[in-house]
Amino acid sequence: MKALCWHGKNDIRYDTVPDPKIEHPRDAIIKTTSCAICGSDLHLYDHFIPGMEHGDIMGHEFMGEVVEVGSENKALKVGDRIVVPFTITCGECEQCKRGNFSVCERSNRRKDLGDKVFGHSTAGLFGYSHLTGGYAGGQAEYVRVPFADSTHVKVPSTLTDEQVLFLGDIFPTGWQAAVQCDIQPTDTVAVWGAGPVGQFCVRSAVLLGAKQVVMIDNVPERLLMAEAGGAITINFDKESVVERLNELTRGKGPEKCIDAVGLESHATRSLDAVYDRVKQATMMESDRPHVLREMIYVCRPAGILSIPGVYGGLVDKIPMGALMNKGLTVRTGQTHVKRWTDDLLRRIDEGQIDPSFVITHTVSLDQGPEMYKTFRDKLDNCIKVILKP
């Protein structure tokens, strides 16, 4: 079959690879009908996440039709149409039972690596390095889904792929980021990063009733899309984030702040961003945490910082004094996708939101490598790429 494979920094190729096979009775194989390039795939593309190997199949946002099921998998049958959550979940361990699906205790088959790097391993993820199990990803014609009797969301034929595909990652990720803020009707929610996850953070915060939602970015077309979703926008190339946020909150700062950027923040006119660039390029720091620093600084005392943006390793110059003295709460983590999907699928089905608004490019799988570049460099007004194998 054909798949997009990682071959090193900035090197994604459309390769021929062996078809996947059932390896465990709970598995299923799906024929992919749609998949997407996620912002967090760019961290692999730029090689900021360790543990990738040559030939690893990329992708963790995908859906398709079940073509084969393992003997113990009673939840699925051939022909079912499913979206696959990017976090692989056994559904039976202590963490899964608590709804903490992204830290499933059994699905990471490279637990030894995860334990070594993170202290305790997290869930297995599709196409996201050997630290999270080294599972083949979904940017492929076929995918093996481990623990498939638990790791799936059945979707009705009345909804299109474009409407439901994002249930696998970015919609629940934006939703969880907003839910973690426990939004009150009096809240100002500031969101950094108008990429796809940031766009869903804005819509989620609006649906959850925030008084005002503010989007911070410098890419004009992304700010326009955020405005369409109900956000007040701040272009950090044109105005001071701190001053504008203070203006919008009577000088008190936003109660809730969301980092939808993660480890590759681009802050063009900031000294600390230059410092981070140099340290990252010389391998003295793995992540660029400009957004984290700014959130800690601007957030209202006793506020909440919600961090769906992906970080991979070590950061420098975090203002712990401000974080501690202001009594800020930090909530973060990979998304507990399955915890939210039933509710979000119902909201899509009822027409409360149509997630396809974020798609700007739809191409065939063989054009995927070029689209990585287009998406990373924000060329051609690209915000979200869908691939059709």
Binding site: D182, Q184, M225, A228
Partner: protein
Amino acid sequence: MTMLEKFSSSQQSLGVADKLARGLGFYSFGLGLLELAAPRLLTRTLGMEGSEKLVRAYGAREIVSGVGALSDNPVPALWSRVAGDALDLATLATALTPDNPKRGNVKIAMAVVLATALVDIMAAKAATDRHHRPRNMPIRDYSNRSGFPQSAEAMRGAAGDFETPADMRADIGNGYSRASAVPL
């Protein structure tokens, strides 16, 4: 499309321009190490004895450019290499004096730097064309992409039926209650 881009394939994300940038990055890094570690070897070859400190400084510059060219955004480093080439040529020109017995070597070095400069310019231009978002890029209007069936204002609070799970509430463990919440 630049000449280099014609040889790139959409089925591989790493284009010829990227490979060239990477090659120049390693070259810059290697040359920088040589200039830092053995400046006398170079000054003697070029008849520029006494300029060892300058050569070391240029070595440090080369290493910085090399690291930049190998980073995820090589464009600034590639253009800095072009500027560095100009500086190298100007410095070598000062050694083209009649009393320098190594004038021949200096001429060869200048020819090498000139050739490298041409490659650097080509690589910098190709990488800029390939990766840099043009300043005058037309902005597509996404202002009709709300994702909502009604205006965003009308959708504010539409998910009011959602209850925040206990482990994600703001009032967890501090006696604060939603009912008594007062806007600050």
